[in-house]
Amino acid sequence: MSWLTLFAQVQIHHRASDCESNNGFCPDWIIKNFGDRYVDPFFRHLELVVISVLVGFVIAFALGIVAHRRRWLVGPVVGITGVLYTIPSVAAFLLLVPITGFGLLTAVIALSSYTLLIIFRNVVAGLAAAPAEARDAALGMGLTDSQVLWRVEVPLALPEIFAGVRIATTTTVGLAALAFFANAGGLGGLIFGDLVFKSNVVVAGGLCIVMAFVLDGLLLFAQRLSTPWVRAARA
């Protein structure tokens, strides 16, 4: 055993007053630590958003299709999803925890319930806005009701539906930051972990904005791809 370990002690550093200890905005620190600290939570956040919006879309779209033929359903569904939408996310996470515990499930349930109102409303409105002439023409061509729905009304409703999904997605990006209250990770945990460090808040918050713009752009692209007739009509 070397004599050095006999006297081994933790070295107390003399700290110069630099960018980090002043909690400033430090580009060097950001570049050095970005991969380590921000990449995993970013993808975890993305995971939360994508899963929640998908789940919300499936449920809201199904409800919308059903309510399209049974108009009396619209009121109650809007009412219930409206209440879910109104409950602040922090409260929603805490209310679910006694029932579903901490973790991904609770976060996804809370986040997807937010998307329900927006998407449902847009699905119903989009389907309702299909011009009667188009439906009549299709029925006249001998299409069944179900074929009219899927081949005429839904495609015509796509812009409105996509608009709803886009709003839901960007909103969920912001809300998922609070998912750490349900112990589900994401960029919010990072922000909360060092609220006073400017570099941290700016990077984590900035990543959320970037994520929202990218997802919104991708959805817009998908919308353009799936509705080529819109561009053709304009041209």
Binding site: L6, V10, Q11, I12, H13, R15, N33, N183
Partner: protein, 326 residues
């Protein structure tokens, strides 16, 4: 003559600056012995026991800096001793951590004696023994009834303290908290939101010391030192192992009426796992705890909170610099 004196002074100043302007960087060579630390530990390298390989232990921690560091230290130390170690750091509050421990999700996590007594065992903060050993023994007995073993505690205690800037301490001429009695009405105090309602915090200051502060501002824990720096509060309630105390040269007022109970760390382990793990477990933990004095913890916390290093890296540094690992 004057020129030589000036040159000499400049040389001495330069030497002084070079000596202490070292770095806040983390690549310090670990074999440097330093005289500025006050930890009295002698390093003793952890020996890896191959028999431990078949034991898997999951170490957890709560979700703030000190817990991250300690969780990592314990995990890395046990790994060095040959155990198969998994970690689940960042569990959340102590309630979540205890649930995880009882349910078997984790096998051990570091808990504060004071926190255990108030949060788990319904002891009012005014009834916590002021003697750290007594507080530990009480917690240990309570944990034992739940099939958990609280291993011997750390030397350091992370308790509340009233901090002021050096300038404020000079201006008010105070050394003890009770010195504030006549001046409290001109002082704004800051602390965490829950401090407002705890007897080992603001309530104790009001009731036991009779202090009536001008105002109390609740702030996020990461702000407690910033408010002193920015002049947004005259005094702040901080933790004794916070790194900013040394960095900002804060003055901690003496708790002469003992309202701040001791909060030592004890690693709380599942009984069955502890048995299966054998004697090396407790021995390793006791070994690495020897170096955990208050100044050392302040330094480790500084490396994470001020230098913005990762807790796992700081834990590795602690073990290397203290001579527990190579």
């Amino acid at each position: 003559m004057r020129n030589i004196a000036a040159a000499l002074a400049a040389l001495i100043a330069a030497a002084g600056l070079a000596a202490c302007g070292s770095s806040s960087s983390s690549d310090t060579s670990s074999s440097k012995a330093t005289s500025s630390s006050s930890s009295g530990s002698t390093g003793q390298v952890i020996q890896s026991n191959p028999a431990n390989k078949k034991v898997t232990v999951t170490i957890g921690s709560k979700n703030f800096t000190e817990e991250f560091i300690l969780g990592n230290i314990y995990a890395q130390a046990l790994k060095a001793a040959g155990y198969n170690v998994k970690t689940q750091l960042n569990l959340g509050s102590e309630q979540i951590a205890l649930k995880a421990l009882k349910s078997g999700q984790i096998d051990a996590y570091p808990e504060y004696t004071g926190t255990a007594l108030t949060s788990f065992f319904k002891v009012k903060t005014t009834s916590i023994p002021t003697d750290p050993a007594k507080a530990y023994n009480q917690a240990k007995a309570d944990f034992a009834q739940q099939g958990l073993t609280a291993l011997p505690p750390t030397p350091f205690t992370d308790s509340n303290a009233v901090a002021v800037t050096q300038a404020t301490a000079k201006k008010l001429g105070v050394k003890n908290i009770s010195d504030l009695k006549s001046k409290a009405s001109t002082i704004t105090l800051a602390g965490t939101p829950e401090c407002r309602q705890r007897q080992d915090c603001l309530l104790g200051l009001q009731q036991v010391y009779g202090l009536k502060f001008k105002s109390f501002t609740p702030v996020d824990p990461s702000l407690r030192h910033e408010v002193l720096q920015k002049g947004q509060a005259d005094a702040s309630i901080v933790f004794t192992t916070d790194g900013q105390i040394k960095a900002n040269k804060e003055v901690l007022l003496n708790d002469d009426k003992n309202i701040f109970p001791p909060y030592n760390i004890t690693l709380v382990v599942n009984d069955k796992v502890l048995q299966k793990a054998g004697p090396d477990f407790a021995k390793t933990i006791a070994l690495v705890q020897k170096g955990m004095t208050t100044p050392v913890l302040q330094e480790l916390n500084s490396r994470v909170d001020l230098d913005k290093q990762k807790p796992a890296a700081v834990a590795t540094e602690y073990l290397k610099e203290s001579g527990y690992t190579k």
